[in-house]
Symmetry: C2
């Protein structure tokens, strides 16, 4: 194995690194998909699998970090190659966070199994599916080194923010209606927030893919779907708290 | 300037990079401190300064990223030097997130100015001060390349998690008491969560400092102050929703 490693070309090493990131992407996608299925079905057993599975995503992140440091030290890549290596490091970091958020959704699904069913929780899977699609698209953009696709993904973050804002309002209304809804609704709020944050990390990945391919940063200001939140009327029930 | 750059030694370039990160750390610290002062005083003007100031932290992050890529390309550092360069990249990423969370706290302070005062909001600054102290300590550990100090900071994350859990319970109780408390209390929950996340990023920085100095990762499982949350009784008011 050690010899085999030494005779590898830089291209082979870079490909191996990218395969690790792609594999890690698949793991994060599966965690996200499972946490959403578990939430829809109130499935504590599947949630527990997601919670335990997070350690594997974390280990993969360490493995990518180590591979990056090794490639940088042994190969001293330049220009595009260097961006690909640094990009792998960044994307792995975002995937690790996506795994954390999926695990947190799974933990909350487990906590919800003791609590009454509230409608806002049932609205989350739709948002989850959109974010799942965005994560899939951005990982495809990474594999295909497709900057245009990355840019399209990047623009979709505003959609996620809009759904998040509307889900947040709905949840708030349920909380006001009956104090018994407050605990499950608080879980719903944080689940929605976790999924919105997964969308943000997909956006980060889109920026990194764009940077790898073009060597320049994507526009620095993100499109924000929820900026309007600040200008809304401030009645107790309507005042949007989904500030981000 | 261009010539001056070319004749710089690697040590000088690395020092310049570390100074950038330290300066960025100072910026993130100031943002955190200001958002907590603004929260204590219900000061929307100061909050607005924090919200606007976040762009400067973001720009500094791009500047660090660019400097890292340049140093890697021109200097091909090895071993300790390579870890210092990669570490600078990671720490800048964490500081950027700390800036984001501080800005989010500031936005929520502005939203709270239209809402009734609730006691949980007034409990947040204490948690904020603890996290501020932790951020300061970890930045000192970075400047002094002190792995032992970094490890001590890393262990303090459990304290933050404990305060967060207790603040969360308190907030939940207020929400149940009176529906008019729900909106301001929701802000309080997310503010507390933001500050808890700042603590997590300080913990990440501690891990990076340890890695820079020793070349090995700090233990991979973090001490968690809130694991007990899952084993608590599930009465509506007591069920802890601060799952993380």
């Amino acid at each position: 194995m050690a010899n085999e490693h030494i005779v590898k070309s830089f291209d082979e090493e870079l490909e191996a690194l990218e395969r690790m990131v792609t594999q890690m992407g698949g793991m994060a996608e599966a965690q996200l998909s499972d946490c959403i299925i578990a939430l829809s079905r109130r499935d504590s057993a599947l949630s527990a699998v997601v919670v335990t599975g997070d350690a594997k995503v974390d280990e993969m992140n360490w493995a990518v970090d180590e591979a990056v440091v090794r490639v940088l030290a042994l190969r001293q890549p330049m220009a595009l190659d260097l961006r690909a290596v640094i990009g792998a490091l960044r994307i792995a970091g975002d995937l690790e966070r996506i795994g954390d958020y999926a695990a947190n959704v799974a933990k909350r699904t487990m906590a919800l199994s003791h609590l009454p069913i509230v409608s806002p929780v049932q609205s989350i899977p739709r948002m989850g599916k959109l974010v799942q699609h965005i994560v899939k698209e951005v990982l495809d953009a990474y594999t295909e080194k497709d900057a245009a696709k990355a840019e399209r993904v990047w623009e979709r973050d505003a959609e996620v923010d809009e759904i998040y804002t509307s889900l947040f309002r709905e949840t708030l209304t349920y909380m006001m209606e009956d104090p018994r809804n407050i605990t499950p609704c608080t879980h719903a709020m944080f689940m929605a927030k976790n999924i919105e944050r997964i969308g943000d990390h997909a956006t980060n990945i889109a920026e990194t893919v764009f940077f790898i391919v073009n060597g320049t940063p994507l526009m620095k200001r993100r499109p924000k779907g929820d900026e309007s939140a600040y200008s809304l009327g401030a009645t107790a029930a309507d005042y949007v708290v989904s500030v981000d």
